[in-house]
Assembly symmetry: C2
Homo-oligomer: 252 residues x 2
Amino acid sequence: MAARADTSKTAESSDKVSVICRALRRAIIEQALEPGAKLPEDSLGERFGVSRTIARHALGQLAAEGLVELRRNRIAVVATPSWQEARDAFDIRIELERLVVRQLAGKLTKPQIAELNAHVDAEDRARDGTDAVSIRLATEFHILLAHMTNSPILVRYVSEVAYRCCLTLSLYSRPHSSECAINEHRAIIAALAKGDVDKVMGLMHSHLDSVATRALVTPSPQRGRDLLDILAPYADEASGEKVVKLPKAVRR
Amino acid sequence: MAARADTSKTAESSDKVSVICRALRRAIIEQALEPGAKLPEDSLGERFGVSRTIARHALGQLAAEGLVELRRNRIAVVATPSWQEARDAFDIRIELERLVVRQLAGKLTKPQIAELNAHVDAEDRARDGTDAVSIRLATEFHILLAHMTNSPILVRYVSEVAYRCCLTLSLYSRPHSSECAINEHRAIIAALAKGDVDKVMGLMHSHLDSVATRALVTPSPQRGRDLLDILAPYADEASGEKVVKLPKAVRR
DNA sequence: ACAGCCCGAACTGCATGCAATTGCAGCGCC
DNA sequence: GGCGCTGCAATTGCATGCAGTTCGGGCTGT
């Protein structure tokens, strides 16, 4: 039951803008929309049966979350975080999630523990599904934890940064074996239930750290980064090196 | 030369929406707009010389940052964070800023240190100004620090959460003596320059913690939610307070 | 006199229209 | 053949218009 239909405090609830936001968010983190994919306002509006105004508003929200890049007078695109930004996001995420488990250790109710276990079971069952889904589930485990702190702000930040990490994982990571992640999730639940603050903070730290380092070992964006943007700063002094213009691989 | 000309990283640069956002943000954290103040789209549009569409978009962004509360079909109001939310915000802020100084310790350039010192000097000069301004400057010191990490994500989160804390300080704190804050800022700069990671993390922690505890000891509005708004007309026992419900803050 | 109802004003939700900017394809020039 | 230019189509930036909802004040019934 992932019903959690509560969107509550944070400005978004049931209007069309939020619906589009959620849909796009999910599409992005499941890689249905790759980083760099174009998101023209009218196409979105047409797709979701709303006007450009609404699509535009949704894009604005997603841009505020860092999932979408918005350049003036240009088509919005799915964000393409740099490797450094990915590292930064993970650093922040580690701190935030340590805070989460610190607040949660020993304070979980039985139903909450059951809910967590159920979620991990779901992760387990999804192991033979697509990679995108298992990544999403793993991410949602962390968001579920954040929810249990009853701190809307913490939920928002953890969600955002987790989504960003999801996005970067899709960029810089190859098929990851979710097995160990699941085991680590179980270990975290156990330590939380036992109330061992230090243990659980350490677990969470190493869990995220391992994901980060395992995923982000390759600072060479094999593809997908639009080189033109990368090279923009070098345009001034790029006299000696001949910069060939690559054949725009990502065309539609 | 604070010409931090970074456009486009964080979606907001030079369009009218961002202008309005910045203006409102500042008005809010300087308490020109009190928590609970109404922000009708038309009035904002009129005030800033734009249409409702733009004002609406700006409100959306500010709502995403938690500075504005947006209820469907209702006039937007400046957010009124509960006391618990204030605590949560400070908790998060402490972690984030510890991360900031951890990354910064020993890595600051001379110009950066000079810039920081200049800012604190400005804080010093503003001591005889209004409280709102000195609070804003103190907040901006922390944001300036975050900027120096060169991590856009960190900048965004620190800024947001710092603004939120600013907002709550205006709610739950009485006139605070900024003197010690200034000294603590100087101490932090010194420790950063010396590169003493542990020292500076401890300093930052206690700095923020002291601000938080000094400020948040009084949950005077029992729950702080929009209950406060409801009770405003019946402001008998809340006598000492200046709760004029709304002199139509932004009315032509 | 008081409570409840009703109606108008105010406001938001959303779509559409128009001007301005950008992307791009084709064309001419070197 | 490659490079730069030009004009058109695509797309955004923004304002305005209309419909639906909420708020508040006055009126009526008791």
